[in-house]
């Protein structure tokens, strides 16, 4: 079956929110790899522990673009702690579902946020996110590149 995207996915694919780069970002997360066909870059600006601004750039399919777009919306204005609670499941739900082969993209979005926060923490506190490694890299193997 070909990807049957929800209207919500299509909407974010056609009109992605928060695209681009931030001048002097406080944290940058880049996940995925070009060989697998998805790369997400997330940049954040943090003020008083709150994500004041977030921008993304994504190389990937419609699902990859839509998940990054909605994820930026979901964390903007949230505290770091709240943003860290965002799961890929929540992203999928917010998009009104994703085809099974595309679930991976939501994992990538979750990871991109965590990577950006990790980078921010590293820069601001000297230590990164505790015990965190990007899930998407692991999934890569399991899916046998099926994303």
């Amino acid at each position: 079956m070909s990807p049957n995207y929800s209207e919500k996915v299509m909407e974010h694919f056609k009109n992605p929110r928060n695209v681009g780069e931030i001048d002097n970002p406080d944290g940058v997360g880049k996940v995925g790899n070009p060989q697998c066909g998805d790369i997400m870059e997330m940049q954040i600006k943090v003020k008083d522990n709150v994500i004041a601004d977030v921008k993304f750039r994504t190389f990937g399919c419609a699902a990859a673009i839509a998940t990054s777009s909605i994820a930026t919306e979901m964390i903007k204005g949230k505290t770091i702690e709240e943003a860290l609670k965002l799961t890929n499941k929540a992203v999928v739900e917010a998009l009104e579902g994703l085809p099974p082969v595309k679930i991976h993209c939501s994992v990538l979005a979750e990871d991109a946020i965590k990577a950006a926060i990790d980078d921010y923490l590293r820069k601001s506190t000297g230590t990164g996110l505790q015990g965190w490694t990007p899930r998407s890299d692991v999934e890569e193997e399991e899916h046998g590149h099926q994303h």
Partner: protein, 394 residues
Amino acid sequence: MGTNTDKPKKVYLDNMANTPPDPRVIDEMIPHLKNDFGNPLNIHSFGQQTQQAIEDSRQKVAEMVNAQPKEIIFTSCGTESNNFAVKGLARANQKRGNHLISSSIEHFSILYPLKELEKEGFDVTYLPVDKNGIIDPSSLKNAITDKTILVTLTHASNEIGTLEPINEIGMITREKGILFHVDGMQTAGTIPVDVKALNIDALSLAANLFYGPTGAAALYLKQGTRILPFLLGGTQEEGKRAGTNNISGIVGMGKAAELARLEMGERNKKLVAMRDRLIKELPRVIDDFFITGHPSNRLPGHVSGCVKFVEGESMSMFLDMEGVAVSTGSACVSKALKASHVLLAIGVSPEVVHGSLVFSFGKDNEEADVDYVLEKLPPIVERLRKLSPLKKDK
């Protein structure tokens, strides 16, 4: 595909995945759908009438590739023909050797059966291709051992369209007494394929790639060639393919074959013109775009290329919103979304592979469709490149 100004324009450029059936094919099929319910195996006149329709079609398909009617075995799809040929020929001739030769740009319906045969103890050599996707006949010659029983190669990959030197290869295999199977899905019915002149022992072909219906395909098998049946049970197709035939589909395939034989030259003149213009213009209107496959020695209606820094599904979805249907990666396995092994084989770098597009013209396309693509694609690419984190890195 015309220039209808009321409805949004529809430009179908995915003919290498499926061609729109010719109305004359459909007209031929309908009465058989209605009347040919007799089981052709049976001796009553209902069955005989159905059998006659099938035999007429067999004759037409045979003529198209210069075979004898009894050398045509009807199947249900190109995949079945390929699975049947690879497994059936290898296993039936196992006593003579266990070495098979194929290439690195084959369709999965060839590769997966080969993988299974490897598990059974066959050795398979996968010949490399050059940057245009061409298999070198001398590398094939060198790969042959005294255990080699079968060479199976595509005539043209649906992903890059390059025409392979089947003629030279057929001379080598015939001389060495090795069976030669050709995956002719993209060529049979599109360009002249003469199984006798080309020394082909088995050829896979499918009606839905030459304006026939889906569900009707065939394997040409040179008379006297040993093969193990793939579908087991009844005595249909001289015992070589059991199962009730797709009667109306076969009738449609026959008509489509007849039309292909008669109209091929005319069709291709038009196709080549559209192809060549798109190949020339695309790199002009899009930066960092390059054509994949051979620049000229390729399928008449086939244009493939890679757009750097952008992913194919996204591009094709935006194209679709403009009414343009294309393929990205392997049309037959778009869902897999894996990095195409064919593009990797011609040396395209992994990150660029994902930006591949295939535009395949059919007989119903028009020059205006080329203009339309040249108008619509560049802004889409630009839009997606703005989104891409790769562009700047370069």
